[in-house]
Amino acid sequence: MNIQFKKGVLEICVLSVLAYKDCYGYELVNEISKRIDISEGTIYPLLHRLKDEGYVTTYLQESAGGAPRKYYRLTDSGRKEEHERKEEWMRFAASVNALLERKNDAAE
Protein backbone atom coordinates (compact mmCIF):
# COMPACT_ATOMS: atom_id res chain seq x y z
CA MET A 1 0.00 0.00 0.00
CA ASN A 2 1.34 3.43 -0.69
CA ILE A 3 3.21 5.41 1.89
CA GLN A 4 0.90 8.45 1.93
CA PHE A 5 -1.96 6.20 2.90
CA LYS A 6 -0.10 4.86 5.87
CA LYS A 7 1.47 8.06 7.05
CA GLY A 8 -1.87 9.78 6.92
CA VAL A 9 -3.39 7.37 9.41
CA LEU A 10 -0.32 6.95 11.58
CA GLU A 11 -1.27 9.76 13.91
CA ILE A 12 -4.70 8.40 14.75
CA CYS A 13 -3.12 4.94 15.22
CA VAL A 14 -0.61 6.30 17.73
CA LEU A 15 -3.30 8.25 19.59
CA SER A 16 -5.53 5.20 19.65
CA VAL A 17 -2.88 2.84 21.05
CA LEU A 18 -2.07 5.40 23.74
CA ALA A 19 -5.77 5.82 24.58
CA TYR A 20 -5.78 2.12 25.42
CA LYS A 21 -2.66 2.20 27.60
CA ASP A 22 0.52 4.18 28.30
CA CYS A 23 3.42 2.84 26.26
CA TYR A 24 7.16 3.18 26.05
CA GLY A 25 8.54 3.92 22.60
CA TYR A 26 9.50 0.43 21.52
CA GLU A 27 6.21 -1.01 22.72
CA LEU A 28 4.23 1.56 20.78
CA VAL A 29 6.29 1.14 17.62
CA ASN A 30 5.93 -2.61 17.90
CA GLU A 31 2.19 -2.39 18.40
CA ILE A 32 1.83 -0.36 15.22
CA SER A 33 4.40 -2.03 12.97
CA LYS A 34 2.78 -5.37 13.82
CA ARG A 35 -0.18 -4.29 11.72
CA ILE A 36 1.11 -1.53 9.45
CA ASP A 37 4.30 -1.95 7.49
CA ILE A 38 5.97 1.42 7.96
CA SER A 39 9.46 2.68 8.61
CA GLU A 40 9.61 2.57 12.41
CA GLY A 41 11.88 5.59 12.53
CA THR A 42 9.01 7.90 11.55
CA ILE A 43 6.95 7.09 14.64
CA TYR A 44 9.36 8.88 16.99
CA PRO A 45 9.26 12.22 15.15
CA LEU A 46 5.48 11.87 15.23
CA LEU A 47 5.54 11.31 19.01
CA HIS A 48 7.65 14.44 19.41
CA ARG A 49 5.19 16.41 17.37
CA LEU A 50 2.27 15.14 19.45
CA LYS A 51 4.18 16.12 22.56
CA ASP A 52 4.78 19.61 21.16
CA GLU A 53 1.11 19.94 20.42
CA GLY A 54 0.29 18.96 23.96
CA TYR A 55 -1.51 15.70 23.13
CA VAL A 56 0.96 13.47 24.95
CA THR A 57 3.32 13.80 27.89
CA THR A 58 6.16 11.57 28.98
CA TYR A 59 7.32 10.13 32.27
CA LEU A 60 10.12 7.80 33.28
CA GLN A 61 9.41 4.48 34.90
CA GLU A 62 11.73 1.75 36.11
CA SER A 63 11.67 -1.44 34.10
CA ALA A 64 12.31 -4.93 35.40
CA GLY A 65 16.09 -5.23 35.50
CA GLY A 66 16.92 -2.48 33.03
CA ALA A 67 17.30 1.24 32.60
CA PRO A 68 14.19 3.35 33.26
CA ARG A 69 11.96 3.67 30.21
CA LYS A 70 10.27 6.72 28.82
CA TYR A 71 6.51 6.21 28.78
CA TYR A 72 4.12 8.20 26.64
CA ARG A 73 0.71 9.12 28.03
CA LEU A 74 -2.24 10.94 26.46
CA THR A 75 -3.16 14.28 28.01
CA ASP A 76 -6.79 15.36 28.40
CA SER A 77 -6.61 17.28 25.13
CA GLY A 78 -4.98 14.24 23.52
CA ARG A 79 -7.86 12.08 24.71
CA LYS A 80 -10.35 14.53 23.27
CA GLU A 81 -8.44 14.65 19.99
CA GLU A 82 -8.31 10.85 19.85
CA HIS A 83 -12.04 10.65 20.38
CA GLU A 84 -12.84 13.17 17.64
CA ARG A 85 -10.41 11.71 15.12
CA LYS A 86 -11.70 8.22 15.79
CA GLU A 87 -15.30 9.23 15.19
CA GLU A 88 -14.27 11.03 12.05
CA TRP A 89 -12.28 8.06 10.79
CA MET A 90 -15.04 5.56 11.56
CA ARG A 91 -17.60 7.59 9.63
CA PHE A 92 -15.23 8.10 6.74
CA ALA A 93 -14.15 4.45 6.57
CA ALA A 94 -17.78 3.29 6.71
CA SER A 95 -18.69 5.58 3.80
CA VAL A 96 -15.75 4.45 1.71
CA ASN A 97 -16.44 0.80 2.41
CA ALA A 98 -20.09 1.18 1.53
CA LEU A 99 -19.11 2.87 -1.69
CA LEU A 100 -16.51 0.30 -2.61
CA GLU A 101 -18.75 -2.64 -1.88
CA ARG A 102 -21.81 -1.00 -3.43
CA LYS A 103 -24.05 -2.76 -0.94
CA ASN A 104 -27.13 -0.69 -1.59
CA ASP A 105 -27.45 -0.45 -5.32
CA ALA A 106 -26.22 -3.89 -6.33
CA ALA A 107 -29.75 -4.84 -7.38
CA GLU A 108 -30.41 -1.76 -9.46
Binding site: I3, Q4, G8, V29, S39, E40, G41, K70
Partner: protein
Protein backbone atom coordinates in the same frame (compact mmCIF):
# COMPACT_ATOMS: atom_id res chain seq x y z
CA UNK B 1 29.75 0.44 7.56
CA UNK B 2 28.76 -1.14 10.82
CA UNK B 3 25.01 -0.90 11.41
CA UNK B 4 24.84 -0.73 15.17
CA UNK B 5 23.36 1.52 17.84
CA UNK B 6 26.50 3.65 18.29
CA UNK B 7 26.74 4.38 14.57
CA UNK B 8 23.01 5.19 14.28
CA UNK B 9 23.18 7.59 17.22
CA UNK B 10 26.43 9.11 15.96
CA UNK B 11 24.95 9.92 12.54
CA UNK B 12 21.73 11.22 14.08
CA UNK B 13 23.63 13.54 16.43
CA UNK B 14 25.96 14.61 13.66
CA UNK B 15 23.12 15.59 11.34
CA UNK B 16 21.03 17.35 13.96
CA UNK B 17 23.56 19.06 16.21
CA UNK B 18 23.65 22.25 14.13
CA UNK B 19 19.88 22.65 14.12
CA UNK B 20 18.47 21.46 17.42
CA UNK B 21 19.19 22.72 20.90
CA UNK B 22 21.12 20.27 23.03
CA UNK B 23 18.23 19.29 25.31
CA UNK B 24 15.94 18.59 22.41
CA UNK B 25 18.61 16.59 20.64
CA UNK B 26 19.29 14.55 23.79
CA UNK B 27 15.58 13.89 24.18
CA UNK B 28 15.29 12.60 20.61
CA UNK B 29 18.49 10.57 20.78
CA UNK B 30 17.39 8.94 24.04
CA UNK B 31 14.29 7.58 22.28
CA UNK B 32 16.34 5.84 19.61
CA UNK B 33 18.92 4.59 22.12
CA UNK B 34 16.09 3.11 24.19
CA UNK B 35 14.61 1.58 21.05
CA UNK B 36 17.88 -0.26 20.37
CA UNK B 37 18.23 -1.37 23.99
CA UNK B 38 14.71 -2.73 24.30
CA UNK B 39 14.96 -4.28 20.84
CA UNK B 40 18.11 -6.15 21.81
CA UNK B 41 16.44 -7.33 25.02
CA UNK B 42 13.70 -8.73 22.75
CA UNK B 43 16.26 -10.69 20.79
CA UNK B 44 16.61 -8.51 17.73
CA UNK B 45 20.00 -7.62 16.33
CA UNK B 46 21.22 -4.04 15.92
CA UNK B 47 21.27 -4.49 12.17
CA UNK B 48 17.66 -5.64 12.10
CA UNK B 49 16.59 -2.72 14.28
CA UNK B 50 18.49 -0.31 12.04
CA UNK B 51 16.70 -1.63 8.98
CA UNK B 52 13.26 -1.30 10.50
CA UNK B 53 13.96 2.21 11.75
CA UNK B 54 15.08 3.41 8.36
CA UNK B 55 18.40 5.11 7.71
CA UNK B 56 19.51 7.61 10.37
CA UNK B 57 20.06 10.15 7.59
CA UNK B 58 16.39 9.92 6.59
CA UNK B 59 15.23 10.07 10.19
CA UNK B 60 17.41 13.14 10.78
CA UNK B 61 16.13 14.86 7.63
CA UNK B 62 12.54 14.45 8.72
CA UNK B 63 13.17 15.67 12.27
CA UNK B 64 15.16 18.61 10.94
CA UNK B 65 12.49 19.64 8.44
CA UNK B 66 9.77 19.50 11.10
CA UNK B 67 11.91 21.51 13.49
CA UNK B 68 12.64 24.22 10.91
CA UNK B 69 8.97 24.50 9.93
CA UNK B 70 8.00 24.91 13.58
CA UNK B 71 10.72 27.54 13.97
CA UNK B 72 9.41 29.43 10.92
CA UNK B 73 5.96 29.26 12.45
CA UNK B 74 6.97 30.79 15.77
CA UNK B 75 9.47 33.33 14.42
CA UNK B 76 8.26 34.71 11.11
CA UNK B 77 11.08 35.75 8.83
CA UNK B 78 12.18 35.33 5.23
CA UNK B 79 15.26 33.41 6.25
CA UNK B 80 13.27 31.01 8.48
CA UNK B 81 10.69 30.17 5.83
CA UNK B 82 13.47 29.78 3.28
CA UNK B 83 15.28 27.25 5.47
CA UNK B 84 12.03 25.41 6.20
CA UNK B 85 11.28 25.10 2.48
CA UNK B 86 14.83 23.99 1.77
CA UNK B 87 14.72 21.28 4.46
CA UNK B 88 11.36 20.01 3.21
CA UNK B 89 12.74 19.88 -0.34
CA UNK B 90 15.40 17.50 0.91
CA UNK B 91 12.77 14.93 1.90
CA UNK B 92 12.11 13.72 -1.63
CA UNK B 93 12.66 14.51 -5.27
CA UNK B 94 8.93 14.93 -5.86
CA UNK B 95 8.98 17.92 -3.53
CA UNK B 96 10.61 19.82 -6.41
CA UNK B 97 7.11 19.74 -7.83
CA UNK B 98 5.07 19.82 -4.63
CA UNK B 99 7.09 22.38 -2.70
CA UNK B 100 9.63 24.24 -4.82
CA UNK B 101 7.33 25.00 -7.76
CA UNK B 102 4.47 26.51 -5.71
CA UNK B 103 6.96 28.34 -3.49
CA UNK B 104 8.68 30.02 -6.46
CA UNK B 105 5.33 30.83 -8.03
CA UNK B 106 4.05 32.57 -4.90
CA UNK B 107 7.30 34.46 -4.35
CA UNK B 108 7.24 35.66 -7.98
CA UNK B 109 3.66 36.77 -7.56
CA UNK B 110 4.48 38.78 -4.44
CA UNK B 111 7.47 40.40 -6.15
CA UNK B 112 5.45 41.33 -9.25
CA UNK B 113 2.67 42.91 -7.16
CA UNK B 114 5.27 44.79 -5.11
CA UNK B 115 7.00 46.14 -8.25
CA UNK B 116 3.64 47.17 -9.70
CA UNK B 117 2.83 48.94 -6.45
CA UNK B 118 6.08 50.91 -6.54
CA UNK B 119 5.68 51.81 -10.21
CA UNK B 120 2.15 53.10 -9.58
CA UNK B 121 3.19 54.99 -6.47
CA UNK B 122 6.01 56.75 -8.35
CA UNK B 123 3.94 57.42 -11.48
CA UNK B 124 1.51 59.53 -9.43
CA UNK B 125 3.92 62.36 -8.46
CA UNK B 126 5.40 62.31 -11.98
CA UNK B 127 1.95 62.88 -13.46
CA UNK B 128 1.31 65.60 -10.88
CA UNK B 129 4.54 67.40 -11.76
CA UNK B 130 3.69 67.16 -15.43
CA UNK B 131 0.25 68.68 -14.89
CA UNK B 132 1.60 71.49 -12.71
CA UNK B 133 4.20 72.38 -15.34
CA UNK B 134 1.46 72.42 -17.96
CA UNK B 135 -0.62 74.76 -15.82
CA UNK B 136 2.40 77.01 -15.46
CA UNK B 137 2.32 77.38 -19.20
CA UNK B 138 4.94 74.91 -20.31
CA UNK B 139 4.09 73.37 -23.66
CA UNK B 140 2.77 69.84 -23.40
CA UNK B 141 5.32 67.42 -24.68
CA UNK B 142 4.71 63.79 -25.57
CA UNK B 143 1.05 63.56 -24.50
CA UNK B 144 -1.58 66.13 -23.87
CA UNK B 145 -3.48 65.80 -20.65
CA UNK B 146 -5.97 68.15 -19.12
CA UNK B 147 -3.94 69.51 -16.18
CA UNK B 148 -6.81 69.38 -13.70
CA UNK B 149 -7.65 65.83 -14.71
CA UNK B 150 -3.95 65.06 -14.43
CA UNK B 151 -3.91 66.07 -10.78
CA UNK B 152 -6.87 63.84 -9.94
CA UNK B 153 -5.40 60.96 -11.93
CA UNK B 154 -2.04 61.30 -10.16
CA UNK B 155 -3.75 61.02 -6.77
CA UNK B 156 -5.68 57.98 -8.02
CA UNK B 157 -2.56 56.27 -9.35
CA UNK B 158 -0.55 56.82 -6.17
CA UNK B 159 -3.41 55.59 -4.02
CA UNK B 160 -3.69 52.46 -6.15
CA UNK B 161 0.07 51.90 -5.84
CA UNK B 162 -0.01 52.25 -2.05
CA UNK B 163 -2.99 49.91 -1.83
CA UNK B 164 -1.10 47.35 -3.92
CA UNK B 165 1.89 47.53 -1.57
CA UNK B 166 -0.31 47.20 1.52
CA UNK B 167 -2.27 44.39 -0.12
CA UNK B 168 0.99 42.64 -0.99
CA UNK B 169 2.01 42.71 2.64
CA UNK B 170 -1.22 41.02 3.73
CA UNK B 171 -1.00 38.58 0.85
CA UNK B 172 2.53 37.65 1.95
CA UNK B 173 1.32 37.05 5.50
CA UNK B 174 -1.50 34.90 4.21
CA UNK B 175 0.83 32.84 2.00
CA UNK B 176 3.17 32.43 4.94
CA UNK B 177 0.45 31.01 7.18
CA UNK B 178 -0.96 28.69 4.54
CA UNK B 179 2.57 27.70 3.49
CA UNK B 180 3.48 26.61 7.02
CA UNK B 181 0.33 24.50 7.32
CA UNK B 182 1.07 22.93 3.96
CA UNK B 183 4.70 22.15 4.83
CA UNK B 184 3.59 20.47 8.05
CA UNK B 185 1.11 18.37 6.17
CA UNK B 186 3.68 17.59 3.50
CA UNK B 187 6.17 16.32 6.08
CA UNK B 188 3.68 14.29 8.07
CA UNK B 189 1.84 12.71 5.15
CA UNK B 190 3.56 12.87 1.77
CA UNK B 191 7.15 12.08 2.59
CA UNK B 192 8.59 8.94 4.04
CA UNK B 193 9.87 5.52 3.20
CA UNK B 194 8.42 2.04 3.35
CA UNK B 195 9.39 -0.10 6.30
CA UNK B 196 11.49 -3.13 5.60
CA UNK B 197 10.85 -5.02 8.80
Amino acid sequence: MLQNEQEFIRILKDRLSGTLAKEELDDIVSDYAEHFQVGRANGRSDEELWRSLGSPEDVAREIKAMHLVKKAESVKSCSNIFHAVLATLGLGLFNLVFVLAPFLLLVCMLVVVLILGFVFTITGPVTLLYSVLQMAGLPAFAIWLNPVAGIFISVGITTTGLLLIIGDYYLARFFYRVGIAYLKWNISVITGTEGTA
